[in-house]
Each structure stands twice: as structure tokens, then as C-alpha cells.
């Protein structure tokens, strides 16, 4: 063993792996995908800091346009001799598969690190299971699996060592989120260990095989039937030796570190009769459960699979105890239609082979085995706890154990699930188990990560932190699970018996059962807005009951006040952290305070003295405000609110409502749609009440321009025009005024806010142009506290919804004030407060929602649009509305193209049938239908009426053609196909497909919501990222200019291309959307979308768009091919020449500004280049827009 001081640190799996991978590679090809993105982010950040690898050179980290691209670069870099890696997960790994075959086929050493994640099937999931890695198991890569953060670090190194020794490329994988994001205190690897594990001779051999003109060879041949087969078999010796190479690396590693690993590692009773076989983080839970059961005298054990491919059958058999009689193989994946899941099949195969083998000792090892069953567990990070493990062992004691079972769910359809006792608990009392409920915005998770670091660094305790997040991006609830204890923590499952519960937001008490997991006698820390003597009487009945029944000790603090008073705003993290340490007893109070202060210095020191002092002050002022709550009698007269109102549809209330209150785990299989189809119009039932302040309307000041309605990202501000008579039964506080628009003279006008759906972003107030003449600090909309308004405005909102919607056929849609009276069919999304994308989606839903079908690329819009439980895509009173689907990230344009081709086909067939059936349904009707070009809203409505007539008359016709037409008749009404996504999709991963689809000439509409960064995965650079912006994967500032997607599209000549920025010119945006949809061909709208990832003031983000356009950073233009057909220049530049320095707009955004704080010289250089980019781009567009178009005739010399 190398003797050195052991260094421990709390890290998550991604960081632990990235540290090793960075050290051992020269080239790293990256692309963002959850949950693997942080590995790439670490690598990029370290490169930008100039951190060298093991050999003293700084690795080249390159971001690619897709995982397919990353795999290609990986392959190429390996082929030319560099040690190369990549990081990925899920669909990303699938995109790499073609290259994986190549890399393995060419016996190329490399290691890919995978944070294993579910694959999108009936729905996408970002969470962990082995669907991805098992899908790649046939590629020829070796697969090494880590079960914990410590292992992830260690096996990363072992994989790198073994690949060089064996020439077999490796996928090193560990469970997404459970390991990739779990924080554990681990023993760090010294450089000397890495040095000793990597044989430079093997590195030189790898280099010597490189493609180089100095030693030219040919690789990548096309082979024929005569030799391909034999050549494929030529690699067998390498695979035969691979397992030994891995074990040798493991043995060497054991000598160096004292941590010993086996290919198949058995743990449990030496005389075990029942053994569970599995791989990944679940091994830790089974390990813990086995210890518990063995202590109780049970003969059980666990066989942990570390080397999954090549599957070393003999080693597997050798690892089993001879006493084993029954085996349960657990797969964290599902292969519908298979004979069994892959690991189960492997085990069956090797046991059977052992029985058939001529090797007596092998035979003897398995002769007692009478049962091998397989089961599925933990898909999409589904909880897998000791209770479930016990049920798996119990199943093996049955005379007829259930096979192909599931555990952890209630499968009431095909009865596959094992029953388990949820009260079974193996956790020792020595472990401090703390749960914290927080809001994303209050800093709870950050504080908990900090606490883990303090305890991990400053005490002998082991620690573990795991964090459960929300499906919403605004008002999101976070639940932190922290464990501390004297022994290594193997509990890879959520806490169900907490001895400390922190509720950091009072409002959770009325929504969630925060004390469900509190164990008897636990400490409950509550952040309350009330005085201590008022707290008890304001607790819901369920909370009072649990406090009394479980004998909880309750402590309260008005953390918001303490935070506010100390300049921390709504971030109560430091205050609550101080309370936790004061109460939890992990450290003495004085020691804890000292350590928190030290941690503050460490965490915030680099951000400046002010930040440190602000936090230190908060610590000092906390404990005087922390009080123990006297426990009263259970007297409360109110209960927790229902998740959904009683009048919500059954499915919404009973199924989606459960998901909402974090009880979705309890839903049985039978209640879930079997094909991934869910109802729309469901977000309206979810009253989130996340805003502290909401806008209120002043009718006397309002100019009724409709701008507030247009920009509202959450469709919570709406306007209606109606007859005065409608006010007869209006609530007393319902506001109304005379309409100003002469087209509606004599009628009334109301702007109404949905108080419980508003996120309080304040964008409406910012754009409101109407100021109170006596007090210009007030506008027609002003923010006021939500709570006092909640009841009255809820009543007003309900009343408002029942007022009639306008007649769509008579609205002047070119005027925002009238167009914005259209009902939005995209409402109350879970997007970030102040989102820059959603106003565009709402607009498109208002204009075309009742006849649109949407292909939505994976990204923010697919998450706030389609992440369960509810969706913002809505329906109108007729039951019409956008039909929406998400296929993948990379194929969205093609997916939408499929919609178009299919719909056109159906419409064409309907037209053919209609013509044939003219005699039957009436020639006049047929002609009217066929001759209606449907170019206006009125035409569409006429067409719908005629089609209704047609369908009515077809009902009575008994012919095959009539039946066909009846099923297709609705396609005679124009359908609007929209292909929607972000810049990551359009500029990068989906660009090839987008290009092809745009070139098709088909009538489809592409909306690119350009946030200039991969927003959904946390702000990685895309080709839309402007020069000089700091983003993940561009930590040193994006060195190149933004791609001009619009200009590329214009080169086709027949594509309508427009660039808009709603905040800069809303009427331009409206015009573009109408023109694009009307254009009978492909259209591309590139819409500037501000984003939380820009580091801007979200409240003024729309008006900031004006600065961006005025500086020329974003151009407004339209390229309309119809103008070219009229002999005009198709390009119209709709914004003026830049009049502001780009610096003045850029440095209002942290993404640019922060580079001046990290790399000031680089910032200066990039700023100058960015200004030059903008100047040159403007000059080019000015030239293009001004040029005289030719007539297509070229004069030739006589």
C-alpha cells in the first residue's frame, strides 16, 4: 500500500468520476445530457483554469453537437493516438452505439463514463436505471459497474487501467442521480495511485497504433462474406483475457489503497441459501439488508456484479457460496417481450452452462440450486429499500417463487409485484437522518450540501446527501435527505424514519405531509411567519396530530425575517443551517457555529467580502430568534388542502393529484395510461399559489393596449370585452371599465389576474406603458401582496372565465389589443418565473391553437409542456386545442415533418373521397368545401361548419367510402403543424434534420425559441451562444460567434425566415407569426428568448430585449419568398442600425459580465470581437436588404 495521509472529501459521483477521467485523458468530447452533464462541466471548467492531467498537459475538452458527434470525435481522437473519453447517459448512449461497435471492433482502449438513466419509451425520464447501458451491451465494450460514489471513483481508475491492458474499450457506469448526484464522504485517490495504476508502456502502444502518415495503415475497411466472419472472431482472445485484466487491476488497486474489489463480489452468510444478484447502487441497499438479516440468523447473501461485460461465467459461479439454493436476479431495466431481463438471462445461462460442463467443481457449486427467478426494480430511480429487498428474499422461500416479478410498485394489472412491509427498517440508531423541505429559491439544498461538507470535513462521521427535486422550474419544492453516522452509509434509498425534519416554508404545511417520515421523538424545525405564541393555532389539524402522537420536539424561527433583516432577501439557507446545527447535536453548538462561519468564508470568500459578511451576520442573528414551541392540544379546525379541487376530472384529481402531493409512488399500474397518452388542459386544476406578490389592475390608468397579456409567461393576465349586462352578477370587487377600442364601443373591458396561478414575475408591470399621471411610480398594473387578495381575486377570476370569449372571426388580429383577446391555449406552465419562451407559445396557441399539432423537441419546452403531472397545453370550450408530442431531442424536425406528410395525406384522401361522394353529400357542399382556401379565421370557421354538415350527412350513408370519409373529414379543416424547440435542438443536435425538413418545401412552421444556451440542462453553450458569453462548456467565454441560422435558411430561397424579439417589438412578433403560418411552405421563426441562464433581472427581461436589439446583438427581420415572386427583395430589415454599444447591453447580463471577473483580459478581447461581429453582421444584412433583386436572367457575352 502506498503510505500517505488519507484524504477524505464529500463529493458526488459525477465529480468523483470526472476527477479521474480528467487526469487520465488527453481529449474529452462532451455533450450535455442529464444526469451526466456535470462530468463534462467539471472537465471544461478545469481546462479553462489550465489544470493539467496526470502527464502534465491540459486536456482538450471539446463540445460536440450531439452524442453521436461526441462518439465520432472520440473514435477519431482514439484512432489518432490520444487517450480520449466522453460522458453520457440514456439516449446519448444510444446515439453513440454505432461508433461503439467500431471502437470495440478495432480493439481501441478507452473508457466512457455513463450515469445510467432510463430511456424514453411511453414517456421520457431523466432518472436512473440500466435501460441505457443494457441496450449497449452487445457493442463489444466491456461494462464495469459502480455501486457507490467511492466505487465510482475507484472503478473509473480500474477501468482506465484495464482498458489499456486489455485493449477492450470500457463503459464504466453508475446509477444516474442515486450515485451521480448523491454526495458521500469518500477517500480521494492520490496522484501516486493513478500513476501506479497506469502503465505508460500501454499508453505508448496505444499511440503506436495511431493513424499517422509516418506509419501509414488502412483501418475501416469494407469486408466481404469471405472474411468478415473470421475477422469478427479474431478478437476472441482479447475478450477471453479481459476479465483477468480487470481483476488484476482491481488487485493492484487493492494493494495500493486497501480497497479491494472483485468482478463478482459476494457478501453475506457463508452458508447462504438465498442470494440476490444485481448491479449498481441497489447493491448497497441489499448489502445493508443482508447484514441485518444475517444478524437475525437468516442464510442470505448478495452477489454484486461489477464486471457486467464480458460476463465471466466461471468467475460468477466461483463467487457463489456452494450452499446456495435459490437465486433472485434483479434487473434495473425492462425488455418487453424478452424471455427475461438481461442479467437474469446471463445468470440462467452461466448456471446452466456450469451444470452442463464437464468441470466437476463448477457443477458442484450449482448443484443445489433449484430456483432462479428474475425481477425488475428501481426503474427511473424508483425507490428500492430494505423492505423491498426483504420481500425479494422472502419470495425465494416460497414453494413457487414468483418469477418475472416487479418490486417497489403495485402492479394490479398483471400481478407481477411482490408485496412488502413498508415498516421494515434496517437503519441503525447511530445514524442521524435528517430531511428538509425547501423551495428551490430559498437555498435549502445549497445549505444542506454545505452542512454535509462541514460534517464530512470536520468530523469523523460518514455522510450522505441525496436531493429530490420538483418537476416545476418555478416555485419548486426540494426535499433533502441527509444521513450522518460513524460507519460507512450504504442506504441508497430515501429516508422514511427521520429523526430531524426541517420545513423551510410554512406554506408546505397546507400542501404536503411533511411529518410523514418523522420518527417518534424526532426534532421538527419550522420556519414560520407567526409569532411563537401564534404558531400552534395556525397549524393544520394533521400537523398538530402528528406532533402530539409522535411526541415531536418543535422549534420555530421566522427565518425570512432574519434573512431579510440581514440583507439575504428570501435566501434563508444560512439561517436554517445554523438552526439545524444548533439542534441536531452532530457538533456542539459553539463548534458548529465556528464551522459554519468557516464554511461561509470558504464558500463565499471568492465572491467578495460583502457576501461573506452578510452571511456571517445572519449566523450571528439566528439563534436569538430560534424558539422551542410549547405543544398544545389538538384543536385545529382546518385541514391540509386537497391536491386538486373536487370538481377536477377524476383522472386529474385522483391520479395527477397524487403525483402533485408527492404520493405518485402509491399509484398502481392500472390507473396509468398504457400508451403514454394524457389529457390536456390540466394545469388549470393545480393551484400553486407560489407568488408572494401579484399584479393588480387599475382600470383608470389602463390604456387597454394588451401588452401585459401578451408578455405574461404564464397566461395569468387576461382581458375580455363584454356587454355591460354581463356585470349583473359580478362579485363586488370585480373591476370593469368602458372599453376604449371604438370597434367595441359601448362595451365593457376587464383585465383579470389569476391569483393562484401567477408566479409573481412582474414582467407585466415592467412592460405596462400606462403610468398614473399623479404618481408615475404607479402603473395600470401594480404588484401587491397575494395572500390578502387570494380569496377575492379567486372569485373574480372564476367569474371572469365565465364571461364570453370574443368572436374570433371578427377580431382584427394585426392589432395586439384585439388579438390578445383570443383565448390562450397554453396556460399556467411550470416554467421559470418570467420565462422568455412561453409568451411565444402562448401567442401561437392563441392564434392557431384550435387547429395546431405540435412536435416539441426535448428541452425546457418539453419539460414545462409535458412533464407530469399536469400540462399547460389546453382546450377551448369546443374541446379543441393543440395536440402535442415529444419524440426525441435530435429528431424533432423530422417528427414534425411526419405530422405534415401524414396530415396532408389524410387531407388529400379526404378530398378524393369528397369528390367521389359529391353526388351523395351534395355537390354544392363539396364545392364550397373544396373552394374554401381557409386563409382567414372566418374561412376556418366556415369550413368547420361545412365539415360538420358533411359529417352529419355521411352518418346516414352506408358505403365503405362514406365511412372512410367520415373518419377523415376533420382533415378538410386546415391543420397547422408547428415544430418547436430550443437552440440546442435547432442549431446543434437537430440541425441536420431541421435543414432537411426546411428544404422539403412542405407547409410547416418551425419556432426556435433561442435562449442562446442549453437551458434545460443548466446552461451549456450551444452554437447559438454569442461570442464572449460564459456558459457551461464555455467557462472561459464562448470564443466564436453565434451561428446565423436564419441566414443559412434564407439561402434556400423558398423558406419564410424571420427573427423576432417580443420584448423589443411585440407588433413585429405578432406580424411574423401570422405571416409565417399563412405562408404556404416552410417557415422558420427564430425568437429571442431571455432565460434565467443569462443572469439577468427577469422582471425587466422583456424591456432588456429593446437594448439588445438597439445594440444590434439581435436583428429583427423577415425574409418572405412571396416578395421575391413579386420581383421585390424578400428580405426586410425591421430593426434599425445599432445605436448602442454592445457592451452596454451585454454587461447587463451576468453571462457576459462575469467573464470580466474571471478572465478580464479575455473579456476585453472577446468584447471587441463581439462588437465587430455585430457591426459586420449589420452591414451584411443592410446590404442584403437593400440590394436590388435580379430577374434570374444572366447576360452572356456575345
Amino acid at each position: 500500500m502506498i503510505m500517505s495521509t488519507k484524504t477524505y472529501a464529500p463529493l458526488d459521483g459525477n465529480e468523483a468520476v470526472a476527477r479521474v477521467a480528467y487526469q487520465l485523458n488527453e481529449v474529452i468530447a462532451i455533450y450535455p445530457i442529464t444526469p451526466a452533464s456535470p462530468m463534462g462541466e467539471w472537465a471544461d471548467a478545469w481546462m479553462s483554469e489550465g489544470r493539467p492531467n496526470l502527464w502534465g498537459t491540459v486536456p482538450s475538452v471539446v463540445e460536440m453537437q450531439a452524442e453521436g458527434g461526441a462518439a465520432g470525435t472520440l473514435h477519431g481522437s482514439l484512432q489518432t493516438g490520444s487517450l480520449t473519453t466522453t460522458f453520457t447517459a440514456s439516449q446519448g448512449l444510444l446515439l453513440m452505439i454505432p461508433n461503439l461497435y467500431k471502437i470495440a471492433g478495432e480493439l481501441t482502449p478507452c473508457v466512457i463514463h455513463v450515469a445510467a438513466r432510463s430511456l424514453a419509451a411511453q414517456g421520457l425520464s431523466i432518472f436512473g436505471d440500466h435501460s441505457d447501458v443494457t441496450s449497449a451491451r452487445a457493442t463489444g465494450f466491456a461494462f464495469l459497474c459502480s455501486a457507490s460514489v467511492q466505487e465510482a471513483q475507484d472503478l473509473a481508475l480500474i477501468a482506465h487501467s484495464a482498458t489499456l491492458e486489455s485493449r477492450i474499450p470500457f463503459i464504466h457506469f453508475f446509477d444516474g442521480f442515486r450515485t451521480s448526484h448523491e454526495i458521500q464522504k469518500i477517500e480521494l485517490l492520490e496522484d501516486s495511485v493513478l500513476r501506479a495504476m497506469i502503465n505508460d508502456e500501454r499508453v505508448f502502444e496505444h499511440r503506436s497504433r495511431a493513424l499517422t502518415p509516418d506509419r501509414p495503415v488502412l483501418r475501416g475497411t469494407a469486408q466481404n462474406p469471405d472474411v468478415y466472419f473470421q475477422a469478427r472472431e479474431s478478437v476472441n482472445p482479447f475478450y477471453a483475457q479481459c476479465a483477468d485484466a480487470v481483476q488484476e487491476a482491481m488487485d493492484k488497486f487493492g494493494e495500493l489503497t486497501g480497497r479491494n474489489y472483485q468482478l463478482f463480489e459476494y457478501h453475506g452468510a457463508p452458508d447462504a441459501e438465498r442470494v440476490v444478484v444485481l448491479m449498481g447502487s441497489g447493491c448497497e441497499t441489499v448489502h445493508e439488508t443482508v447484514d441485518y438479516l444475517v444478524a437475525q440468523g437468516e442464510k442470505v447473501g448478495v452477489l454484486k456484479v461489477r464486471l457486467y461485460r464480458p460476463f465471466a461465467g466461471i468467475k460468477f459461479i466461483e463467487a457463489l457460496p456452494e450452499t446456495v439454493k435459490a437465486i433472485a436476479v434483479l434487473d434495473r431495466t425492462k425488455e418487453p417481450g424478452s424471455a427475461g431481463e438481461p442479467l437474469y438471462q446471463d445468470v440462467l445461462t452461466v448456471v446452466q452452462e456450469a451444470l452442463f460442463s464437464g468441470d466437476g467443481s463448477l457443477k458442484a457449486k450449482v448443484q443445489n440450486i433449484s430456483t432462479i427467478v428474475g425481477g425488475r426494480y428501481g426503474l427511473s430511480s424508483k425507490e428500492f429499500n430494505p423492505a423491498m429487498v426483504k420481500s425479494v428474499f422472502d419470495n425465494l422461500t416460497q414453494a413457487q417463487p414468483k418469477n418475472h416479478f416487479t418490486v417497489g410498485i403495485n402492479d394490479d394489472v398483471t400481478q407481477t409485484s411482490l408485496v412488502y412491509d413498508p415498516n421494515f427498517n434496517t437503519e441503525p440508531d447511530s445514524v442521524v437522518r435528517a430531511m428538509f423541505y425547501g423551495l428551490g429559491s430559498d437555498g435549502t439544498v445549497g445549505a444542506n450540501k454545505n452542512s454535509i461538507k462541514i460534517i464530512g470535513d470536520e468530523t469523523e462521521n460518514y455522510c450522505q446527501g441525496y436531493f429530490v427535486y420538483d418537476s416545476k422550474k418555478s416555485g419548486a419544492v426540494t426535499v433533502s435527505h441527509l444521513r450522518f453516522g460513524p460507519d460507512p452509509i450504504r442506504s441508497t434509498y430515501l429516508i422514511s424514519q427521520a429523526n430531524f425534519v426541517g420545513c423551510h416554508q410554512w406554506l408546505f404545511l397546507e400542501k404536503l405531509d411533511v411529518l410523514k417520515a418523522a420518527s417518534p421523538g424526532a426534532t421538527f424545525l419550522l420556519n414560520t411567519p407567526f409569532e411563537v405564541n401564534e404558531v400552534w393555532n395556525n397549524l393544520p389539524l394533521e400537523v398538530q396530530e402528528q406532533i402530539v402522537r409522535k411526541g415531536l420536539k418543535v422549534y420555530v424561527i421566522n427565518a425570512n425575517k432574519v434573512a431579510r433583516d440581514n440583507g439575504m432577501g428570501s435566501r434563508i439557507n444560512t439561517v436554517m443551517q445554523t438552526c439545524f446545527f444548533a439542534l441536531a447535536g452532530v457538533l456542539s453548538k459553539e463548534e458548529a457555529i465556528a464551522q459554519i462561519k468557516k464554511a461561509i468564508q470558504k464558500t463565499y470568500g471568492k465572491k467578495g467580502k460583502q457576501i461573506v459578511e452578510m452571511n456571517l451576520k445572519a449566523v450571528d442573528n439566528t439563534l436569538d430568534n430560534l424558539f422551542e414551541l410549547p405543544i398544545g392540544d389538538v384543536t385545529s379546525t382546518f385541514r391540509r388542502l386537497p391536491a386538486m379541487p373536487d370538481n377536477a376530472p377524476d383522472f386529474v384529481r385522483d391520479v395527477e393529484g397524487k403525483m402533485l402531493i408527492k404520493e405518485g409512488d402509491e399509484l398502481p399500474v392500472s390507473v396509468l395510461p398504457c400508451d403514454g397518452t394524457y389529457p390536456t388542459g390540466t394545469s388549470k386544476w393545480e393551484k400553486r399559489n407560489v407568488a408572494q406578490f401579484i399584479p393588480t389592475w387599475d382600470p383608470d390608468v389602463c390604456v387597454q393596449c394588451g401588452k401585459c397579456i401578451m408578455v405574461c409567461p404564464h397566461a395569468v393576465i387576461r382581458g375580455k370585452v363584454y356587454d355591460e349586462g354581463q356585470l349583473a352578477n359580478a362579485p363586488a370587487t370585480f373591476k370593469s371599465t368602458a372599453v376604449r377600442d371604438k370597434d367595441f364601443s359601448g362595451q365593457k373591458f376587464t383585465i383579470q389576474v389569476a391569483p393562484e396561478d401567477c408566479t409573481g414575475c412582474g414582467i407585466c408591470v415592467d412592460v405596462c406603458p400606462a403610468k398614473n399621471k399623479s404618481q408615475p411610480s404607479l402603473k395600470a398594473l401594480n404588484m401587491e401582496e397575494q395572500l390578502p387578495l387570494r380569496e377575492t381575486e379567486r372569485t373574480n377570476w372564476d367569474y371572469f372565465l365565465n364571461l364570453p370569449n370574443p368572436n374570433r372571426t371578427t377580431l382584427k388580429l394585426n392589432q395586439i389589443k384585439q388579438q390578445q383577446l383570443q383565448e390562450p391555449l397554453f396556460e399556467f406552465s411550470g416554467a421559470c418565473a418570467g420565462c422568455g419562451e412561453t409568451p411565444y407559445l402562448k401567442l401561437v396557441s392563441q392564434l392557431f391553437g384550435d387547429r395546431m399539432v405540435i412536435a416539441n423537441a426535448t428541452g425546457c419546452s418539453s419539460i414545462y409542456g409535458g412533464n407530469l403531472p399536469t400540462t399547460p397545453w389546453a382546450q377551448n370550450a369546443d374541446g379543441r386545442g393543440p395536440a402535442w408530442s415529444n419524440s426525441l431531442f435530435e429528431d424533432n424536425a423530422e417528427f414534425g415533418m411526419g405530422f405534415r406528410v401524414s396530415i396532408d395525406k389524410q387531407a388529400q384522401f379526404a378530398t378524393e373521397l369528397l369528390t367521389k361522394l359529391a353526388g351523395t353529400v351534395g355537390d354544392n357542399l363539396v364545392q364550397e368545401i373544396l373552394n374554401n382556401h381557409q386563409t382567414s379565421e372566418a374561412d376556418i370557421w366556415d369550413q368547420r361548419e361545412r365539415v360538420a354538415q358533411l359529417k352529419a350527412s355521411l352518418q346516414n350513408v352506408d358505403s365503405p367510402e362514406a365511412k372512410q370519409l367520415l373518419s377523415l373529414a376533420d382533415y378538410l379543416v386546415k391543420k397547422s403543424v408547428w415544430i418547436i424547440g430550443g437552440d440546442g435542438w435547432a442549431y446543434d443536435i437537430g440541425y441536420g434534420g431541421l435543414d432537411h425538413v426546411l428544404a422539403s418545401g412542405r407547409n410547416l412552421n418551425v419556432l426556435v425559441m433561442d435562449t442562446e444556451v442549453y437551458s434545460n440542462t443548466g446552461g451549456q453553450s450551444s452554437k447559438a451562444t454569442p461570442r464572449g458569453a460564459v456558459a457551461k462548456f464555455a467557462a472561459g467565454g464562448k470564443p466564436s460567434a453565434k451561428k446565423d441560422l436564419g441566414l443559412i435558411a434564407m439561402t434556400y430561397g423558398n423558406i419564410y425566415v424571420a427573427s423576432v424579439a417580443m420584448g423589443a417589438r411585440d407588433e413585429h412578433t405578432l406580424r411574423v407569426f401570422m405571416e409565417a403560418e399563412a405562408y404556404d411552405g416552410p417557415s422558420l421563426i427564430i425568437a429571442y428568448s431571455h432565460c434565467i441562464a443569462h443572469g439577468i433581472n427577469m422582471q425587466t427581461a422583456m424591456s432588456h430585449q429593446k437594448d439588445i436589439v438597439e445594440s444590434g446583438r439581435w436583428l429583427l427581420y423577415r425574409y418572405n419568398p412571396e416578395l421575391a415572386q413579386q420581383g421585390k427583395n424578400p428580405l426586410q430589415l425591421d430593426s434599425r442600425a445599432p445605436k448602442k454599444a454592445v457592451k452596454d447591453s451585454m454587461y447587463n447580463e451576468n453571462r457576459f459580465k462575469m467573464l470580466t471577473k474571471t478572465k478580464p483580459e479575455e473579456a476585453k478581447r472577446l468584447l471587441e470581437e463581439a462588437q465587430q461581429d455585430i457591426n459586420l453582421r449589420w452591414q451584411m444584412y443592410e446590404y442584403l436588404a437593400a440590394r436590388q433583386t435580379g430577374n434570374g436572367q444572366i447576360k452572356t457575352e456575345e
Binding site: G440, S441, D470, K607, A1093, T1158
Partner: protein
């Protein structure tokens, strides 16, 4: 022509010194151009205590806003090991300037309350600045703060900074003291090596169309030099501190007036923003031309010649003159300046 002068113990080749203004002095190339155009020294733009604090808060806010909320996007920015959130960049700028030019570099430090930031002055000295201009930028609006408290605050800051450094310290002042002469004396006694008269405070405008207050910064006009010129003239010879003028210098003759009033140097800013940095040479030529025509030999010869203690009509600088001016005003005789 001998244009040399001394200011804060620095021997300068002329009294023309570009004053603290970020657009002029942020860029190293500009500093070099100033030297080439005849600037005798450069006063760098100010490092603002308030701005540094604001930037720290902003950076912290944006690096934490929206984080740890959504499983796919736990943060939105990379977080490097170090941020230059303190005065480092400014100090680096001082170092670069010192390496690039031979003329003295006077740094400028701006704050309005005693605090840790006064320590920056030491760092500024260590970075190589030849002197420090301390700009106490305060517009008191608190109705509970007395004039005496404000005056003491100024003195406390000056004392704190003087305690940190050995390089000369000039104090840039506002004219809004009850008794400017008394305060000038106190600052001088407290160790101010120079007084810079006067700071031009931000005076916003009202936009009646948009109903907003606009931070509309105006370049100084020739009228702006009257106030500092009077006070320089009054103070000259009565206090130990050197006097520097700032505001309103548009022509060589303006500079000459200031020198005659008693200024050691004349700081120039608006004129350079209007005409460009090389205009320093024009100002210098205008001065030389006038001095030659009027047979002056040196700047020193004229410095303070028209101060209150030396000028022929000393009461002209006092209030009574204003009264006489008003009383002798007749609308018919008033003409607009061209």
C-alpha cells in the same frame, strides 16, 4: 516656455492633467496617447466602493438565482476557483500604466463611509501609484444627519486613508459645506496634500414624455469653472494643501485663469471627451501662445497671481460682488454668449 509645476510633491512638465473619467483612462492605449499628447500626469478613473459592493451582490445573486431547484439544471453558470471581485483589476491597471508610461499616475478612490475599503489605498500604493486622489462622493439626503456629522465623516475617511499610505493624498471635494474655507483648512490640517475643487455631482433630468428621471450626465461648460476658480483664489496661500481645479476648462486661457487663481494643476475631462485626447496639445499650445504674447516666462510666475491675497481687488471674490452684479444687471444690456 517653462510650463512646469509641482503638485502633491510631484514635479510635472505642465499643469494639464486629464482627470478621473473611466471613458478616458480605462484603456491603456489612451493613457499612452495622453502621455504622447503632453499630459503631465494622469488621474485614473475611480474605483468605487459602492460599485464593487454592488457587483459582488449581483454576481452572487446571479450565480445562485434559480439554482438547486430543478434536477436537470442545478446551476446555470460554471463557478471558477477565483473571481476578481475586489480591486485587483484596478490595481493591475495601475501596474500596467506604470509600466507603459513615464508620467506620474494618480489613482482615484471613491467612497462615502468609513469602512474596510480604505485599505484599498494601501494596495493602490503598493501597485505603484504616485499619488492618490480620494473622492468622497456623498449626497447626504438623510434628514437626521447634521452638517457636523458629515464634516466629521469626511475627516475620518481622510485620516483613515492617510494612515494607510505614505504617498500624497489629494481630497476631491464638493462645494456644499457651510463654510468651505473652514473645511478646507481642516482638511489641510488633517494632512490632505491637495484639494481638488470641485466634484461634479450627478444631477438627473426629468423626462416629461416617459415620466422618468434620467441620469443625464452633462459635459461641463465654461461656466462651470467659475465656482472652483473663486474658491481656489480664496484658498490660495491660506492653507498648506496644493489646489487643483477641475470642471470647465475648455481652452488654454481657462487653464491660465485657474493657474492665476492659484491652482497647481488644471484637470481636464470634458474638453477631451469632446475633442479627443490629442487636444491636450492644443490646450498647451494655446497656453504657450498667450504666455508668449504676454511675455510670461513660466507657469510658476503666474500661479496665484490673481488669488484673493494677491489680486488688486480682493473683495471681488466675496459675496458683495454678487450683489453688485445683480443690481447692475439690466435686461437690455444682456446678450447671449455666442
Amino acid at each position: 516656455m517653462d510650463l512646469t509645476t509641482t503638485y502633491l510633491g510631484l514635479n510635472l512638465k505642465s499643469p494639464l492633467v486629464p482627470s478621473a473619467a473611466a471613458p478616458l483612462t480605462e484603456n491603456l492605449d489612451n493613457i499612452k496617447l495622453m502621455e504622447d499628447s503632453g499630459a503631465a500626469a494622469v488621474i485614473l478613473h475611480s474605483i468605487f466602493e459602492e460599485q464593487l459592493e454592488k457587483e459582488q451582490y449581483e454576481l452572487h445573486h446571479h450565480l445562485t438565482y434559480g439554482t438547486e431547484t430543478f434536477a436537470e439544471a442545478l446551476t446555470y453558470f460554471p463557478e471558477p476557483e477565483t473571481f476578481h471581485v475586489g480591486p485587483e483589476l484596478y490595481l493591475e491597471h495601475i501596474r500596467s500604466c506604470k509600466e507603459s508610461v513615464n508620467i506620474p499616475i494618480i489613482a482615484s478612490l471613491n467612497g462615502n463611509n468609513i469602512g474596510g475599503w480604505t485599505h484599498f489605498s494601501k494596495l493602490i500604493q503598493e501597485a505603484g501609484a504616485d499619488a492618490l486622489e480620494l473622492n468622497i462622493y456623498d449626497i447626504p439626503t438623510d434628514m437626521h444627519t447634521t452638517g457636523a456629522q458629515i464634516e466629521q465623516n469626511y475627516l475620518d475617511i481622510l485620516t483613515a486613508v492617510k494612515a494607510e499610505v505614505s504617498i500624497p493624498v489629494a481630497l476631491k471635494l464638493s462645494p456644499f459645506f457651510s463654510n468651505m474655507a473652514y473645511m478646507a483648512k481642516r482638511f489641510s490640517d488633517a494632512g490632505a496634500d491637495g484639494l481638488v475643487l470641485f466634484n461634479r455631482f450627478y444631477q438627473p433630468d426629468i423626462d416629461i414624455d416617459e415620466l422618468v428621471v434620467r441620469p443625464n450626465i452633462l459635459l461641463s461648460t465654461p461656466q462651470a469653472m467659475r465656482l472652483p476658480m473663486r474658491w481656489i483664489a480664496i484658498l490660495y496661500g491660506r492653507i498648506e494643501s496644493d489646489l487643483a481645479s477641475t470642471s470647465g476648462i475648455q481652452h488654454g486661457k481657462d487653464a491660465l485663469k485657474m493657474l492665476m487663481a492659484g491652482a497647481s494643476i488644471t484637470q481636464i475631462c470634458s474638453v477631451l471627451l469632446r475633442h479627443g485626447i490629442p487636444y491636450i496639445r492644443t490646450l498647451e499650445q494655446e497656453m504657450v501662445h498667450w504666455m508668449e504674447e504676454n511675455e510670461y516666462e513660466s507657469v510658476k510666475q503666474m500661479q496665484g497671481s490673481m488669488s484673493q491675497i494677491k489680486c488688486p481687488n480682493e473683495s471681488a471674490f466675496e459675496r458683495v460682488q454678487y450683489m453688485q452684479g445683480i443690481q447692475s444687471y439690466h435686461p437690455d444690456s444682456f446678450t447671449f454668449a455666442p
